[in-house]
């Protein structure tokens, strides 16, 4: 017997027919095993694809500056509907099942409406229900504030709900079913030879998630790492006759220790680079002729930080004239206009000459825990890109990641070149 949390996203829950497919997967996970035991199964669900957008639009139409407490009342209904429907569908397949809404467990969160964080999940009633052989269906994304109101975790929060439930009930595994069947060495739409990874470490997944491999919400990976929850990413679009988690394994997200064991057992190859990610959602800002004196840079980035605009890469060039410098940095494209307006406001304070912006850029990152013990990954990257004439506009590095900023038009070329350069191409598909 194992205790399993399964999570299904909005595409998997889009309509009663798809919910029936999900129910079939869940039923098989909860079925009697040859050894006479059953898994205890809790399922965390998203709203039907498109439903949250519909509800958010209603809120915007009702009140452009909406009260996030009432926004939460409206948008949390999407997951309430799918959790009831999945429980009903499981019952129609002969399973014992019931829904547990965020306020019923409850899932305690901080009071930051529309962007709450889970503090604690009461697991007592849930564990009793699982012990009675009931499948628990839990709406993701929602919780209860200290003053008894509905909260939501922010978009994509259902992954985090699933990991938090898994941590609360001490689950053996948290299976995140998505519309892809695992984590790949890179985007398979760009590189046909991309390979599905059997396992990645939490740290690698964090870097991959934060640079645009949209398989899992970043926060959920951080929580899984902190709580030591074993997460598996796998596809919900499987053959109805397969026992999915066993027959079609996805990608396990594990600790570095577990990864080392897998390598020692020969189940994973040791690679310096695990994957290549790309992100086209940033924009570049250049401030020219900023005075080169103490405090000048702080004058640029403090107002942006106060406005909650995340600055990613920063480069300071020596300017043409003495005592002046050009400052280049990136912000999310969605915040570009706001950042530009803020900087114009601060022109006198900062003392720059011109603002130049460019949203036709891409960030390419190579990620791998193997880098920690292997030098030369970054220089290999620069050489491989230079050989194809791809110009690097900026560089940042972390312990397990090297990222470069390039022209957006060269994204696909750069990803392919690097995928080959680091030996990630699938061998059986090689020409």
């Amino acid at each position: 017997m194992a205790r399993i949390v399964m999570k299904f996203g909005g595409t998997s829950m889009a309509g009663t027919e798809r919910i029936r497919r999900v129910a079939n997967i869940v039923r098989k996970q909860a079925a009697l095993k040859p050894d006479g035991t059953r898994d205890e199964v809790a399922v965390v669900v998203s709203a039907m694809a498109g439903e949250t957008d519909r509800l958010v639009n209603f809120c915007r139409e009702a009140n452009a500056l909406y009260d996030p407490a009432e926004y939460d009342v409206v948008v949390a209904s999407g997951e309430q509907v799918t959790s009831g429907l999945l429980a009903l569908t499981l019952q129609s397949l002969g399973c014992k099942a019931r829904s547990w809404l965020g306020w019923q467990l409850p899932v305690h969160t901080i009071e930051a409406h529309a962007k709450a964080r889970i503090e604690d999940i009461d697991s007592e009633a849930l564990l009793e229900s699982l012990g009675r052989g009931e499948i628990a269906v839990i709406p993701g994304f929602q919780g209860l504030s200290g003053d008894g109101r509905i909260t939501t975790l922010g978009r994509g929060g259902s992954d985090t709900s699933a990991v938090a439930v898994a941590a609360a009930i001490g689950a053996d595994r948290c299976d995140i079913y998505t519309d892809v069947d695992g984590v790949y060495t890179t985007d398979p739409r760009i590189v046909a030879k991309a390979r599905k990874l059997k396992a990645v470490t939490y740290e690698e997944m964090l870097e991959l998630a934060s640079v645009g491999a949209k398989v899992l919400q970043t926060r959920s990976v951080g929580l899984a790492m902190k709580e030591g929850v074993r997460v598996q990413v796998l596809s919900s679009f499987v053959d109805d006759n397969a026992t999915p988690a066993d027959a079609l394994p996805g990608t396990m997200i594990v600790s570095e220790e577990e990864m080392n064991e897998l390598v020692e057992k020969g189940e994973m190859e040791r690679q310096h680079v695990t994957g290549i990610a790309h992100d086209k959602n940033e924009a570049k800002i250049i401030l020219t002729r900023v005075p080169d004196r103490p405090g000048a840079v702080a004058n640029i980035f403090e107002p942006l930080a106060k406005a909650s605009i995340n600055v990613d890469m920063i480069i300071q060039n020596v300017g043409r004239d003495k005592g002046e410098t050009d400052v280049t940095f990136t912000v999310p494209q969605a915040d570009l206009a706001r950042a530009q307006a803020l900087l114009e406001d601060q022109r006198g304070n900062i003392g720059f000459n011109r603002i130049i912006t460019d949203s036709k850029i891409a960030k390419i990152s190579v990620v791998g825990v193997g880098m920690k013990s292997h030098a030369g990954v970054a220089s290999n990257m620069f050489r491989a890109l230079a050989e194809r004439g791809i110009n690097i506009q900026a560089i940042t590095t972390s312990e397990i990641k090297v990222s470069v900023l390039i022209d957006e038009d060269e994204t696909e070329l750069a990803v392919r070149v690097l995928h080959t350069a680091y030996g990630l191409d699938a061998k059986d598909e090689a020409a």
Copy 2:
């Protein structure tokens, strides 16, 4: 200052634009008055028109024999959405407002999911909120069972929610806003000279509601009578500049005592008949040659009662042969097939010859508290119908109602004839 409950149905809440109209009506009700006071206002809302049907269909698709506890989780979301949206819209108009879901107040109900009854509403937090000048927005139709799960009251339950809230907070009035502007002497689509009634008694409204004048849910009228809640029916489709409850009064539903006062003050005319209702949703069943012995009739109606099929009119004719009788009765059209199957099952037990069914019938009722003290209302009815050649198939009476069953094709004619016969035609519109 008054304490007012306002209730808006699904047509009034259908979309953010209509919700804005509703918010404007609520804002005016809650606005500062010339005497420096404000009304305390609680608003009870339905789901957007069509939304509950959409959710019910999802449940049916998920599980034809759905678990009513999970059905309630799904369908209660419709009112959750509109209550959040109305609170947001009121805020955008500068009002203080917040939503209170059924489980938050809570609205305690019995555990009969999908057809729960309200037992008690905790009014403490609600009264505090009203006292702080906040408009309370409460989803109708939903409550909380003793074991902490969502319940719903059955279709049309929002009227009952509104009356129950009004009773719980001791409201001065419960205004039910609908797509009609009051209760009429009969259906204005049939009789152009139908008049809007300034007031009807609870008893009259109960009879009118139960025979097909679909202005208010029957159960809500019964509750209002029991709790002495003054109910007003009025239209939400009013000019945005009107102060609706005052400028465009609807129909007050009051006790017989209050009605007598209105008559004495000359505000109401005393009529023997208050209104004419029609109902085309019944079907007639005739069982021929039922043995005329003790217990035979019980054998017919017990199985129907056990299946929760409401039998309305019953007539027992003397049969052609001695010791046998024909039994005629009506059931809701929606239950006709089920009733027929049940009776066929019991054929041996009941011992009838044939089942004849007819769904092309209509029930016409004349209603009025004035009948209590005035004889001859029924015989006037029979004569008026006979003069126009309308055949009466069955008759039932109560203290304030006479109903007859006729051919469905003669519905409109019968209603018009009776409206004129009882002097209900509007005088200013007479030719």
